[in-house]
Symmetry: C2
Subunit: 326 residues, 2 copies
């Protein structure tokens, strides 16, 4: 298998990440975070969801955050939307200067139990509603994509039959979304499953671009990302710092960390638009704001080779002649 030579990243920290953080951030801090991500080279960012503030208090200030973001031709700001009311809110963020949400993200859940619990919709309802939203968004001139969530497993139903996911992908394709994402929402997938499921879905909907979304809940997230790449997927979700899962919570659910993924990609000669050093600096800042160490490992251990390599080498005596030859 041959992986793509460049990867397009979708930064989901401000939405999927933050909504699972215990501490609520000020809108101004969220704006600083998103601007920092833009400065770090990220150009496609899931900035908010338009859901009930009671269900997700962290997203209550979606409009205020988006109002503080720049209008740029090279920027895609994704708003997650689960119903038509949320869509109207996302649409209302569009500004005369071209700013605001310019891509709609919809979700259909592969598990019926999870769909009912997570968004108060049955599986079929979630798919049908996503279809309505995608058609509306396209009519309004916005990009619109769909994430099939919990495709590798559900905490209530256990295994999900790949045939269910493939069938949903076919039905989702009828809505002509700009992209279909397969999400390991609860972080249970392993690379062999990822390879097989992307292979099957690619075959079922060959004309629709695919995206992959992983959580590192069971430490398989980065391996799954690599497996997706090897299956030909060139667009991956990640969240700066691995935002979203407290390491001490019983069910840590952080997304794969953007900097960990970028480290792997760049050292594999796979290019991205991201700047690793700036991502690491941003993780330090947001970790302080949230009052906890974030799970990203590259931010903790540092990139490689280290910036102070020459100094380290001198210190170790590595440039001196060998002490003795046997």
């Amino acid at each position: 298998m041959k992986h793509p030579s460049s990867v397009s990243l979708v930064e989901v920290g401000p939405r999927d990440g933050l909504q699972n953080e215990a501490r609520r951030l000020e809108s101004t801090d969220k704006i600083t975070l998103i601007k920092g991500l833009i400065d770090a080279g990220l150009r496609r960012i899931e900035v908010a969801s338009f859901v009930s503030p009671k269900a997700v208090p962290q997203m209550a200030d979606a409009e205020a955050v988006i109002a503080g973001l720049p209008a740029r031709d090279d920027l895609t700001l994704i708003g997650l939307v689960l119903n038509m009311r949320g869509y109207e809110r996302a649409l209302a963020t569009r500004r005369a200067d071209g700013g605001g949400i310019n891509e709609i993200g919809c979700v259909a859940v592969a598990s019926n139990s999870f769909a009912l619990r997570n968004q108060g919709q049955s599986r079929d309802e979630s798919l049908s509603i996503a279809g309505d939203i995608i058609r509306r968004a396209h009519g309004d001139g916005l990009s619109a994509q769909i994430t099939l969530s919990a495709v590798y497993g559900c905490p209530f139903e256990g295994e999900i039959d790949p045939a269910t996911v493939i069938d949903m992908a076919r039905r989702a394709a009828d809505f002509e979304p700009d992209e279909i994402a397969l999400a390991d929402t609860i972080g249970v997938a392993v690379p062999a499953q990822v390879r097989d499921l992307f292979g099957s879905v690619r075959e079922a909907v060959p004309h629709i671009p695919l995206r992959a979304h992983f959580h590192n809940t069971r430490n398989t997230g980065i391996a799954n990302a690599w497996a997706a790449l090897e299956a030909g997927v060139a667009t991956l979700d990640a969240s700066v710092g691995g935002l979203g899962g407290c390491p001490f919570a019983p069910a840590a659910t952080g997304n794969i960390a953007t900097e960990d993924l970028v480290y792997l990609l760049h050292r594999s000669a796979v290019t991205t638009d991201a700047d690793l050093d700036q991502l690491i600096a941003l993780t330090g800042w947001i970790g302080k704001k949230l009052g906890r160490d974030l799970p990203a490992q590259v931010s903790r251990a540092g990139p490689f080779p280290p910036a102070n390599l020459k100094e380290a080498k001198l210190k170790a005596g590595g440039v001196q002649p060998e002490r003795k030859r046997p």
Copy 2:
């Protein structure tokens, strides 16, 4: 690429893991840990190193620990040895009942600076000394293998030329070791490197079994393990709980966690001798003894599907009919 259908695990927690833990354990606790690993199905365990107690205080009680371990025909107890003095100590643990160290692990370092810093030997010295030890061990009727360490990078020298590693593997093969391991000692490798290096070394020494050793320092460890498997490697090191790297230390250096690897393997239909539930229980116990949460993620999030799946499903309403069909 097709991965092996079964994997042989080498548990390195009691040595590589513990020696990097700040808190020193009682010998009795180490014995309990190793017996717990045996109960969890592990049959090849690196139980101690025979090095200067000044350099590695955690290993000062190597003899006492080994004296407390059972003699079993199906058990391989590895002692790590860096010089002939250490070898004599390992040999002296052999007991009349068949117990004691029955496999010697040697180390040759791919980076000269790292070799000097880590074991006070130049690269060539480390290789030559390993050769002497392997010949002695074989003469004494013991298994003996060699680990080539820091093969993907060195904190002092940076990149390591793969040609250096391939050349070392060829020279190591002349000692007729029972196995050659390639170790990402400082946790910098990425899957593409792993695949390429194992491919090259396999070609250079086709007659010697290969083993892989990864640290999860930059969150690439599990992805690297999968890449090694896909490159045909069927023996992997791991440490229970991911022992060895404090998550709050600037350079976390834990081995990949045995339970995280086992989770991935079993869900990929790759068999091992390990029992996941017992590993998780053991991690809880050793974490308490060390006074910290260990980095293993599966022990935190739990296996999948969860044991209480039926209950969870009932609670979520997933077995009830869908509320409404669109």
